[in-house]
Subunit: 480 residues, 2 copies
Amino acid sequence: MKNTKVKALLASTDFLKEIQVSGWVRSFRSNRFIALNDGSTIHNIQCVVDFENTPEALLKRITTGASVKINGTLVESQGKGQTVEVQVTKVTILGDADPEEVKRTILQPKRHTLEFLREQAHLRARTNTFGAIMRVRSALSFAIHQYFQQNGFYYVNTPIITGSDAEGAGEMFRVSTLDEKNIPLTEDGQVDYKQDFFGKETNLTVSGQLEAETYAMGMGQVYTFGPTFRAENSNTSRHLAEFWMIEPEVAFCELDGNMDLAEDFIKSVLKYVMETCPDDIEFLENRLIQEDKSKPQAERSTMTLREKLNFVIDNNFKRVSYTEAIEILRNSKPNKKKKFKYLIEEWGADLQSEHERYLVEKHFECPVILFDYPANIKAFYMRMNEDGKTVRAMDVLFPGIGEIAGGSQREERLEVLQERIKEMGIEEEELWWYLDLRKFGTVPHSGFGLGLERLVLFATGMGNIRDAIPFPRTPLNAEF
Amino acid sequence: MKNTKVKALLASTDFLKEIQVSGWVRSFRSNRFIALNDGSTIHNIQCVVDFENTPEALLKRITTGASVKINGTLVESQGKGQTVEVQVTKVTILGDADPEEVKRTILQPKRHTLEFLREQAHLRARTNTFGAIMRVRSALSFAIHQYFQQNGFYYVNTPIITGSDAEGAGEMFRVSTLDEKNIPLTEDGQVDYKQDFFGKETNLTVSGQLEAETYAMGMGQVYTFGPTFRAENSNTSRHLAEFWMIEPEVAFCELDGNMDLAEDFIKSVLKYVMETCPDDIEFLENRLIQEDKSKPQAERSTMTLREKLNFVIDNNFKRVSYTEAIEILRNSKPNKKKKFKYLIEEWGADLQSEHERYLVEKHFECPVILFDYPANIKAFYMRMNEDGKTVRAMDVLFPGIGEIAGGSQREERLEVLQERIKEMGIEEEELWWYLDLRKFGTVPHSGFGLGLERLVLFATGMGNIRDAIPFPRTPLNAEF
């Protein structure tokens, strides 16, 4: 007989039908009520055991964490809290879970800290919270692919191991097969990378953008969705050494079109998640409300999780130039009263999360897209404006989180790009292929990057980015 | 005015409508006919320039590789080979392409070798062949996500950087931030990885399977789809150092269910590609026919590309035990006549591509799934059969390509697994978390791995795996 998923059973009205369901015991109450979960939904199905006709030895093995196969019939539930339940005719133990051993794990049904859950990341998916987060993450990932595929974009896998280090988005991890105890050196004492696997120094990518541009220049509209890496020693709740990034790149598209795309894209994928994972979102919303209760009033969320999601879906993103934003911030209350950690004193300042959140949460009360940033705080490939001091950059700012996505129109003019590369001290030969794109039918084009984990944090209401990815990689941590 | 995609224009019957289209000039003939491509389809749209009323200087800039914006009206075509064309009212040059410079690139409209195309991988997407391959790759990738999402699987991102090296699937790349010119050593002369970024030795993953199992043991059905790495010094047309792998993992599923899944999955995604990319598949089929003409009769394909795809979609995959296959091979003509490079002499032999292809192409004449392999040629985590010498492994074999996917039912019995780990000389502590899965509600479960690039090769009829990924990584090659 085939298993039916808990999700399907809970939605079924096919009463008195014989069914089989397999899963893990979340709890076993009164020697009678098994709360069974199989990962298909956050909800358990209640399986009612006929304990009088079940051997004592078998009943004893129905413990939290054990896996069982249940045969029985689906019936309308008499109890409250569920509409259907399973009248059990047979329980088969698939795998035991020693209650003494379970006590040292996160499977023990009680509140655990998120830190403790991280230490047992291999069991996290069996908890309500991480089941919900990971179902949301999966749905978001699919929504991302679906959005782009339905809108004429092609998925491009840019290289993970790269011999190109010109992007300059951050510190890199070296990839090598050289024997570390016996590194070959050249005559002048440098590491002889000619003897390494790729015959040159290679690193893990920090962004697939430059390579994605090469594909946009032929296929028109492309997107990447893959892992990227930063070897930064930041032990914060916002940074991972390994994270998943989405980078669309569009030919024949200027900054306005790029903003339209970012807004439509983000709204669309969040909407998909609300429609696809309502139970998980509801659970996470309640989790957040509970968590907030232990916080001082001032630190509590002003919106529930669903309110926050609808805030993004229902509002037009306000488009504001950097210059205008600086004026607003300079004259803002928190700036004047010196409440900002970093005070805004003059044009050219790099904005911090506190400033971004002020603009979104207090000033405009809607998501904001800032654009036309000072050239000297942005990357070399962003298109220079006529003023000679700002570039066609954009950042999308969200409540609670600050920057959720960043992008730009790219510099498509060969001479201007060469000039910028020179200023940055990058060798032209390093970027010969990137410059080629400007020599052979260059076109205006734009794109942006969005970190999946930031989006997962936003959609789940979680606070630490280590809880938005199955196995987080951070300084001194690469367990599993 | 907004651009319309070439694909949409070619499908339109909205004649006399004013349109705008932007793209790259593939050719410009008789000072009059622009073949314009924007990557949305393999087909170009013909744009007819009113050359008598167009300045000579502008006409001169309409050259192969240049990018242009065309304004005009869509009309029924008078010429053969297309049903619609654009009557041009205005040409705007977006980016020139110096014809002298174009001559040294693959943009030059003539036959180029695949090797030359690889050297200019940044421009490959602008050729017909690579446009088609990459559209097929993108469609396949989406079909993979869609298949799993529609069948109740959750997408899980397993770690790329891993501190676990027990899988043993192949040579690994080390990931490090230690200064290679000054590697810190411990007192006993070993590399002091405690000082490295993650505080331990880390490598690039060779497979996400073990971590995917941890998620299947909570969420039921999961799949990975991400990059994996092998630091093997194999310079063949079948190996990449970096490739994308798909690994479903299913709880409460034995080997038969795993075979059902693999067969249904592969058929479904190939069907999707045939339906979604008919023009690209047709182009690639003709390309293959042309290529075959230059080969000796014996090496030519016996099936066209679409025949080969339908061969997989329409046939039931024949399920054959390894033991049975060995008997067939031992008694086969090529074995007796010593035509195999590796002769099959006895049970226990590892099968080569030539044997796999013989079974599929000559003996069974349908895709084949071999199962129950000798334990000693397979990985430690595969479930031991009652016979004590074979394991519940399976390989899916395809025409032309041999193994396209490999998997197994996993060993869910703690003691048996511990025994196998010991035999392999792996430290139990290395796999504490993997063993935990067998301590807390272990369940029968199965999964398989499939390399995206092999599937792309099969779906496109290409022969070299370097042409199935945008930027191939192979020994001594990490350009771009």
